[in-house]
Each structure stands twice: as C-alpha cells, then as structure tokens.
C-alpha cells in the first residue's frame, strides 16, 4: 500500500506537466481548469459555427424565394413573364408524372453521352500520352474540332440520326469528351521522373508502372475532368432536345413556351438543374470512394 501511494505521488507532477503543484483531479483553479474552460468555450463556438455554416445555403435560398414570392405580385408582374415560387411548386405537384418521365429521358441521354465520352476519351488520352506521333498528329485536330460550337452541329446530327435518343447522346458525348481527354493527359504527365525510376528499379514494366503509379496518381485529375464533363453532358443533352425531340426536359420547356405555360417552363428548369446536381453528386460520391486526394 505505501508503495502504491508513493508511485501515484511521483507520477502526479509528470501527468500534470512540469511545475503544476495543484491536485490533479477536480481542481477549480489553475492551468488545468483554465484549459478545460478554454476547451469548453472553443467547443461551444465551433458547434454554433458548424450549425450556421450548414444551414446558411438553405437560409439564403429561403430568403431569396420569399423575396421573389412577395415582390412579383407587388410589382404586378404577369404570371406569363415570371410565376411565383408557389405557382411553380403547384405546377410541379400537378404535372410531376410528366416531368419525371422527361427527366428519365434526359438523364439517360446524359449518362449515355458521358459514358461514351469516358470510353473514348480515356483511350485517346492514353494514345496522346504514350505516342509522340499520335500526340503530334491527332491532338491538334482534336483541339481544332473543340473550337466548333457543339450547338452548331446539332442540326446536322438531327439530319443524320433523326429525332430519337442518338443525336442528343452524340452532342452530350462531343461536349463532355474534351475535358476528359485533357485532364487525363495532364494527370498522366504530372507524375515525376523519380517515381518512374523507383518502380523501374523494382523491375516494373510499363504496364505495371501504369497500373501501380501512373493511373492512381492521375485519378484526382481525371475525376476533376469527369465532374466538368458530367455537368457539360447535361447541357449537351438539353441542347439536343431544343433542336428536335419528342420528349425530355428541354423538349418540355419548348412546348411550355408554345403554350405560354411559364410555370411548367420553370418546373422543367428545376428538374434540369436537379439532373445536373444528381449526376455531379454521383461522380463526387465515386470519387470519395475510389480516390484519395494527395
């Protein structure tokens, strides 16, 4: 027993830091109590800040919508020009089956276009990276083609592929393809030479070098490209629907315009935005699972 007593006494100063003479437990004053108080204050402040930060986008949105809702009737803006948020919500409530069917069409166009852009863009990026000849000959043409506005191709694509899914997927693909190629090439080229020396000294061939270091090191950049591309894919699909279509959110906007149904037009707009947000979030989710940021 006396032994244990001695041990605990000799340990106490160590636990408390040099020079702390106060009892280690339940001290009402002294450095320990001060530290506890500061920690508590900091925790409270952080919690308040976190709540505020997380709520802020919703608060701002709600505020803007409320302003919109109040000002439009006051300024006597006709519904044809600018419907109020409540009118738009009512419209969504009434015609959501139609809007959901259109969303499905548009989302499919976006997905097919994006997948095609990945399936073609990555191999082309690999060719650009690994073959000087390819980089010198094909790359400038790709860059040149990129300067053509994709909208300008839409009428031609309709002539070639008709009114169905294909022309929208093609526009979506064309518009999403380029950022994927660029970011993949940039990501692959970013690897430093010593890293290659390292795995070569371990006997790696080029395939292993690619799988073990080039690709993983390029993934953050590639996923950056994916995020840009998926947002552009939505733009491409909707543009395709503006030119010629029988369904889809862009088509819905056009018909709403013809019928002077501004509320439906806005409702379709909201669903287009949702398409963008959902697909972007999906890519971000994949990124979180598969990619560790440097």
């Amino acid at each position: 027993m006396p032994d244990a007593d001695k041990t605990s006494r000799s340990c106490a100063p160590q636990r408390d830091g040099a020079g702390a003479k106060a009892q280690p437990v339940a001290a009402a004053t002294g450095p320990r109590a001060d530290l506890r108080e500061q920690r508590e204050r900091r925790r409270r402040r952080n919690r308040t800040r976190a709540v505020l930060e997380n709520a802020s986008p919703f608060l701002i949105s709600a505020l803007l919508l409320a302003l919109w809702q109040v000002i439009v009737p006051l300024a006597q803006v006709p519904q044809l020009i600018l419907p109020t948020p409540l009118q738009i919500i009512a419209k969504i409530g009434k015609s959501y089956p139609l809007l959901l069917a259109d969303t499905k069409v548009t989302l499919l166009e976006v997905l097919y276009g994006f997948i095609a852009a990945v399936a073609v863009g990555i191999p082309i990026a690999l060719c650009v990276f690994y073959s000087r000849i390819f980089a010198k000959s094909i790359y400038p043409i790709l860059v040149g083609l990129q300067t053509i506005p994709k909208v300008a191709l839409a009428p031609l694509l309709v002539m070639w592929f008709g009114f169905g899914l294909v022309p929208k997927v093609v526009i979506s693909f064309l518009i999403a393809f380029f950022p994927i190629v660029i970011t993949t090439v940039v990501g692959l080229s970013g690897l430093d030479r010593e890293m290659v020396y390292l795995v070569r000294s371990m006997g790696a061939n080029e395939f292993q070098t690619f799988i073990k270091i080039r690709l993983p090191a390029a993934l953050p950049s590639i996923f950056g490209g994916f995020k840009v591309a998926i947002a552009l894919s939505v733009v491409g699909a909707v543009i395709g629907e503006y030119i010629a279509a029988e369904s889809g959110l862009g088509y819905r906007q056009l018909t709403a315009n013809i019928q002077f149904d501004s509320a439906l037009n806005f409702a379709a707009l909201i669903f287009i935005a949702l398409c963008g947000v959902i697909t972007f979030a999906a890519i971000s989710g994949l990124e979180r699972v598969f990619v560790r940021q440097p």
Binding site: Y197, V199, S201, M202, G203, I213, P216, V291
Partner: protein, 285 residues
C-alpha cells in the same frame, strides 16, 4: 529469372552481427566498376562529362559512402548502378555479372521518400513484392518485422501522409529492404530531414544494416554522415566526377553518436575536408 526464386526461399533475417566482426550477410553482393564513364549529350550537341573513368571495386557486405559536391555525377552513378540508365563506356558488374538493367538484387532509396499517398504504410512497403510478383502474403510478416525495427508498428495501417518526414523515410527504407537486396543504393536519403532527425536516422540505419549485412552504396553531401556510417568513403571531384580519395574508416561498430568527438573520427573528417579544399570544392577563408 532464377535469382528471384532464390531470393524468396532465402531466410529473411540474417543473424544479428552487431557483436561479430563485419562479415558480409549471406546475400550481400560485390560490385566492380571498370572505367565507367558517362557523357550526356545535350540537344545542341554539347558534351557533358558527368563521370570520368570510375574504376573501383566494393567488397560484399561493405558500407561505402560517396561524398562530393553538387553536380559531381553522384546521382548519375546511382542511376547507372541501379541499371536505370546506360553507361557511356566501361562496365558495372554485380558479382561479376554485367548490370545493364534493373536487377532483383538491387534496391534504391531516393532523397525524396516517393511514397504512394493512396496506399497505407504496409502496402507501401510491400510495393516491390507486388511488382516482382513474389506473392504478397509471404512477405507481410517480414514487412511488419521491418516496420517494427524502425518503430513504426502502430503506423502500419495509417496512410503515409499522416507521418512525419523522418517516419516517411523510414518507410521508404523498409520498402527497399523488404526485397532482401544484396545491394542497397541510397541517394542522400536524409538530405531533406532536420539535423536532429538526421542523426537519429544515422544511428537507426547503422543498427538495421548491422542485422541485414548487405552491401550499401550511400551517396551524401555530409562528410560527418559519411564517416559515421561507412566502412569506406569515396571522395569525388567536381564534374567530371573522379575518385579523389578512397578512405577506409576502421572505427569499431556499433558506433555511438559520441564517436563524432573521437579523435580518429575528427581526423577522418579533416582528411576528407582537406581533399575538398585541395580540389577547390571548399575554399578556406
């Protein structure tokens, strides 16, 4: 590659030889350089002589340091020893066999740790085993032992960006040693570390090397570090790099940190410094 199979079957840990004389480990290799010259040709056709007729041999199981000023071709020497770039003329031999491409008996530690940030510590250490297809599971235990030796056991499942600079370089050394290399080449591995960490790493490296007992070629800027670690120090001239001094350091091992104040240690350092002064690398006053 028959040597690959041999390497896997070999016992992973050599008996501790700290208490023995410096006897080479079972798989340590000898290296011979015959008039090795490296000339780079720039695009405009200018010739840059990086190394000029290096001619020396390193016995199996020796720790040899190469010290020299920046740009004396030390890194070129490293890349050629590792079989990563070709020699312009002459020949490098490993146990009598010409080195023309990366060899399973040679491992390299670079100045930067070059760890893969998307892998955990243990997976980083096992990278060479994966690349050489030696069967990861057979080496997990050895990798863990190595990490244990450098005091990183509880970090083996952390991502490497959670580690400090010194810890990261320890992981890089484990990654090289997991291959049981007969020759370990180190290119200023502690150059980026602070002075105190660096001294600690010197002590730790000596300890590990005394158990592994392979051949080490250690490239450094630091005369102190070279003398502390080595059996032999090669002093290089400014470009084109030639060997100015080949100095045997016969201080007993294991050397303690305070060996630096030993008169013989000071004598060795002084001798090397005087060679640098004579060659114009260092200017007194």
């Amino acid at each position: 590659m028959s040597s690959t199979a041999e390497l896997v079957l070999r016992p992973h840990n050599q008996p501790n030889r700290a208490d023995q004389a410096c006897r080479p480990g079972l798989h340590a290799v000898s290296i011979t350089l015959d008039n090795v010259t490296k000339v780079y040709e720039s695009q405009s056709g200018d010739e840059v002589w990086a190394l000029d007729r290096l001619d020396f041999a390193i016995d199996a199981g020796r720790f040899v340091s190469v010290v020299g000023p920046s740009g004396c071709g030390k890194s070129t020497l490293l890349l050629m020893l590792a079989g990563l770039i070709p020699v312009t003329s002459g020949m490098i031999r490993l146990n009598g066999e010409a080195v023309t491409r990366p060899h399973p008996q040679i491992a390299v530690v670079f100045q930067r740790d070059l760890l893969l940030y998307w892998r955990r510590v243990l997976d980083n250490v096992l990278l060479p085993v994966e690349i050489r297809r030696w069967g990861r599971s057979k080496f997990v235990k050895q990798a863990e032992q190595l990490l244990d030796q450098v005091g990183l056991t509880e970090f083996s499942h952390r991502f490497v960006d959670e580690l400090s600079g010194g810890m990261r370089q320890r992981v890089a050394i484990c990654r090289a040693l997991v291959q049981n290399p007969g020759l370990l080449i180190m290119d200023e591995p502690f150059g980026a570390l602070d002075a105190l960490t660096r001294e600690q790493m010197n002590v730790d490296l000596q300890k590990i090397w005394l158990t592994v007992a392979n051949t080490v070629v250690f490239i450094t800027h630091s005369i102190d570090e070279a003398v502390f670690l080595s059996d032999r120090v090669l002093v290089m001239s400014p470009r084109p790099g030639r060997v100015l001094l080949d100095l045997a350091i016969d201080l007993p091992r294991p050397r303690k940190l305070n060996v630096r104040s030993d008169m013989r240690f000071v004598g060795f350092v002084d001798q090397i410094r005087r060679v640098f002064e004579a060659s114009g690398t260092l200017r007194g006053e």
